[in-house]
Structures are given as C-alpha cells and as structure tokens.
Symmetry: C2
Subunit: 316 residues, 2 copies
C-alpha cells in the first residue's frame, strides 16, 4: 500500500483527537479562552495534550513576564508567540513616541516570556478614533484628508518598523507583521495582504521581521498561494494561525472568528500551501467568538483539538 496523498481523507485512527503526538504542533492562543488567567489557560492546554501556548500581553502583564515564563514552563509548555505589538500609524509625534516605547516593552516581554515571535497589528487610519466606530468628519477642503491618507499611514508603518527593528534584533525577537482582513483596514490594520506584509519585511533580515499567516485574514486572497510560497522561501513565516471565517458577521466582525470547520475557509488547500512553503512551526488557534468564550474551557479545547486533527493536521 502506498502512502496517502497530502490532501486525502485522514485515516480513521488518526482522526481521534487528543493523541499527544498529533497535537505536538497545536498551540492554544490565550484569546480563545478569554476568561481564563494565564495559569488556567496553561493548565487547560496542558491537560488537553498541547505543547505550546500563544500568549496575550494582558494575561502576561497580570502576573509579570518572569512569572508568566515560569507558569508556562511549569505546565511543560512552550510559548509560540506574544500578541501583540503594533499600532504605529498615528500622525502625532508624542503618540508615536509612546507607541514605540510600548513596542519596546512588548519586545522585552516577548524575550522574557520565552518567545522569539512578537505579533504586530499595525493600526488603522488616524481618522478612526475608535475601532469599529464612525470616522471623524471630513475636513472642509477637497484635498486628501491626512487622517484618511492610507498611503501615508502605510509609509509611517514602514518607517516605525525600521525604528524598532534594531531593538528587536538586539533582544532576539522577531517583529511578526500580521496582515488583517481588509474589513479592518480603516480601524485596525493598514496592512491588508500577505504580499504587502512581505514587501514591508523585505528590507530586514528574515529573523528580524516576519509575517503571520492567519486563515481568517487571508483566506480570500487570490494571490495567497504565491505569497505563502514567497514567505516560506524567504524564511519569514513566523506563525500559522487557524480559525474559520463565519457568517453572518458578528456586530463586531472581529468576533466572527469561529472554530475550524464552522465557516468557509478551505483549510486543506491553505494548510498544504503552508506546508509546501516549508513551515514546520506551531499552529495557533486564535478564536474570537462569544459562544466559544461562553463555553467551558475543556469543551473548547476538545473541539479545537478535534477540528485540528480532522481539518489541518492531515495537510501539514
């Protein structure tokens, strides 16, 4: 009997979730278990047989980065990434200095907590005072409103990544640019495609600026196969994050990130592209969804493992 092709159905035995060797690359992002402290999330991940965890800064800061590192290690886990730095688009000099300072603290936290990957959500247009909220009124003239100047905002991101890069390199931490779905281009991230993230990364060494492939944000991209291959060839894929694009969109569309298999994403195809690009790192599950947040953590972890084994693992 020959080996099954990469995109065939998984053998039945393999589809049973929870076998430790199957979950060796599966990571729980702490946003998925929003209500849990880092201690509780780490315990849940370890109990479910995972070997790593992606941590958000709020849960790290609650206990302090050195303690966070110890908590994770005590549960026998690795840290796959720290979420998140970024928010670099302001036009105000003082706000820009504060943002850079905060990113330097995030870099230090990443190093202390034991991960080399700092996820960066770069920020939206200055015209967006509140994420998801209405735009500031247009100014009276007919020219380009500097607060809606997308080209300008993107240029500031490039500049400020350049300012942070030496500090990140000095700490052994990679700045991992996250392209967000274009529906967040106004208010959360002016980096909207993997290709654009790679263009921004190009001036820097691959171990200083990388990219994350998050299925929710990039699944629709007609250029995705080529850009995933490009990212892999450049050694810049720092993280593969999986969750599904669920409709109808939640009132806050950020909360339409559902369990793998509940939405429209073709995980078989995208995962096979990521694998073909040579990515051999962790696969983080980062779900923002009210029902998932309301569910007991054990159930969330069990679903997450089962879906990963069924829809992602056979193609890795």
């Amino acid at each position: 009997m020959t080996a099954a092709p990469a995109v065939a159905a998984a053998p039945v035995g393999r589809a049973a979730p929870g076998r430790r060797e199957d979950l060796a690359r599966l990571s729980l992002n702490t946003a998925t278990t929003k209500a849990l402290t880092l201690e509780a999330a780490a315990a849940a991940a370890a109990a479910a047989g995972l070997s790593s965890i992606g941590v958000w800064r709020d849960r790290v800061q609650e206990v302090g980065a050195p303690t966070a590192a110890r908590i994770v290690a005590d549960h026998g886990l690795r840290v796959s990434s720290l979420c998140r730095g970024g928010f670099l688009t302001t036009r105000d000099d003082r706000a820009a200095r504060e943002a850079l300072d905060d990113n330097r603290r995030a870099i230090e936290e990443a190093a202390t907590v034991g991960t080399g990957e700092l996820i960066m959500v770069v920020g939206g247009l200055p015209a967006a005072s509140t994420p998801g909220g209405p735009a500031r009124p247009y100014p009276a003239g007919a020219g380009t409103d500097p607060d809606r100047d997308l080209v300008g905002a993107r240029a500031r991101v490039a500049e400020r990544i350049g300012e942070l890069a030496p500090f990140a390199a000095g700490h052994g931490v990679r700045l991992v640019l996250e392209p967000l779905h274009p529906m967040f281009a106004a208010d959360r991230a002016v980096v909207s495609t993997l290709g654009q993230a790679l263009d921004l990364a190009e001036p820097f060494p691959a171990d200083v600026v990388g990219v994350v492939v998050d299925t929710y944000h990039v699944w629709w991209d007609p250029d995705l196969r080529r850009q995933v291959a490009r990212a892999g060839a450049a050694g810049r894929i720092a993280s593969y994050q999986v969750c599904d694009f669920v409709l109808p969109l939640a009132a806050d569309p950020l909360l339409s990130r559902g369990h793998v298999g509940d939405g429209y994403v073709d995980f078989a195809t995208i995962t096979s592209w990521v694998a073909a690009a040579g990515y051999a790192g962790d696969v983080e599950v980062e779900i923002f969804h009210q029902e998932v947040w309301d569910a007991p953590a054990e159930r969330t972890l069990a679903t997450l493992a089962e879906r990963y084994v069924r829809h992602v693992l056979p193609h890795l």
Copy 2:
C-alpha cells in the same frame, strides 16, 4: 497665478452643487433610490441636473427594457450601466445553464436599454446557500470540500465568462467584472481584487470584458494604484462607482455603503488615480444604506451632488 494642483482644495465657487456642467459625469445608480420606480428615479436624477443613470434589472424588468429605454431618454438621460449579471460559481450543471441563460437575457436587456456596460457580480462559494448566512456543514472527510474550493470556484468563473463573451460581443455589450470587498468572498463574489478581475479579463478584447472600480470594494487594496493604471492602460475601466466605507458595519455589511465623505475612503487620491489612468466616463453613485433609502429622494440627490462636487469632481 498658476493652475491649482490636482489634489488642492476646490475653488469655493466650484463647490456649490447643482451647476449642470459640474454634474455632466455624475450618474445616479437606481439602487441609491431603492424605493423609486425607474420613472421616478429618472425624474429625480434629471431634476437634480444629472445626465445619466445606472439601472438595476429589477426596475427595468418592471416596465420591460424597451419602455425603460424610452423613460430614460424622455428625461434626457443616458444609461451608464446595467446592474447586474453574474452568479456563475455553481457546481451544478443545470444551475450553470440557467445562470448562463439569465446572463444572456441580461446582455439583451443592456443592449435594449441602451448601455454597453453590464456589471457582473460573479457569485460566492457553493457552500454559501444564502448570502450572509451560515456555511453548509463540512463534509465528513478531511480533504478539500468542493463547495469551499475557492480556487475551483474562480476557475469556473473564468470558464463561464469565456462562454458568455461571444454573445456579449455580438450585442455590443461589455461584461464588466466587479471585484467585491473580500468580506463578500464567501457569499457574493469570489473576485476580490482589481488585479484578479484584470487577470480574468486579459484573454478577451477590452471592449468585451472590462472592470469596474468601486471605491467601497477596492479602497483598501495596497496594489490599487498600480492596478488602476493597468486597467486604464488596457482600456478596461468601464465604470467608476463611488460611495464610502462606513463603520460600524451594518448587520448586512452590504448596507454599509454610505454617502461620499461619511466614511474612511480617500476619494481625492483614488479619484486622481482613476483620472490619471485616462478614465473619462460616468461616475456612478451607488449607495446601499438604510438611512439613505429612508430619506426623501430630493434630499438624497442633493447630498449626492454636493458630495460629488466637493470630494470627487476636483480630482477627476
């Protein structure tokens, strides 16, 4: 005194809306005045000083295409486009034949009503039974679900555009591919970027397959400047549609298309790109927004003209 640069503030005199020469390129898309019959919409557009109208098939079919042509002409207007053909992604042979037949009827209607531009919204994934609705459950296996196979759906669009092209050419009607915002990739249109639409158009003559630049759908695209230039150089820009990207997103995000100036789009910059690409045709205002639909038509037309003159016209 030298001429004002393209992206400077408009001279005050020019900002007064309603001067007929200012509105020579402004077109009312009938979806903006959703409650009005074609007769009423044409009357409102003519009264506001516009010279063209973009018509939806439902309003044309209510009276029949020959009568629709007469109504528009009686009001001294041109037809800038017919909305819409498309929905070509089905995997079912019979449904595909029905879709092609319906598109042939749309081509005939466009010719009869007097426009050479048929806007095409190509359709979403077969897994989406209802626009905006939940996905059909994943099948049991771990392979690619053919109903979520985005690459396959895009290939079917290419094929079926090829089947329609000779019929369209024979009627002097151009198939105008509309890239929709990626948030509609699952349920409405697997064509998500202007570059992708141009790739699909490339095998065909420029007067047989074109593209529309709709600010709501493409404003976020980091490659937009280059693709607009490419579209212009190829002679494929069939329509420039303007409306704003408004947050918070409506429950149906299709209804977050607001008046120019109410959202996040940088109309000065995008309009200057479209102008630099050589586009000299109509500028259609197509707004889907409950408040706009609830407003009296005269007020909608007045706002539309005022915003056009302030934010778009100075850059055309």
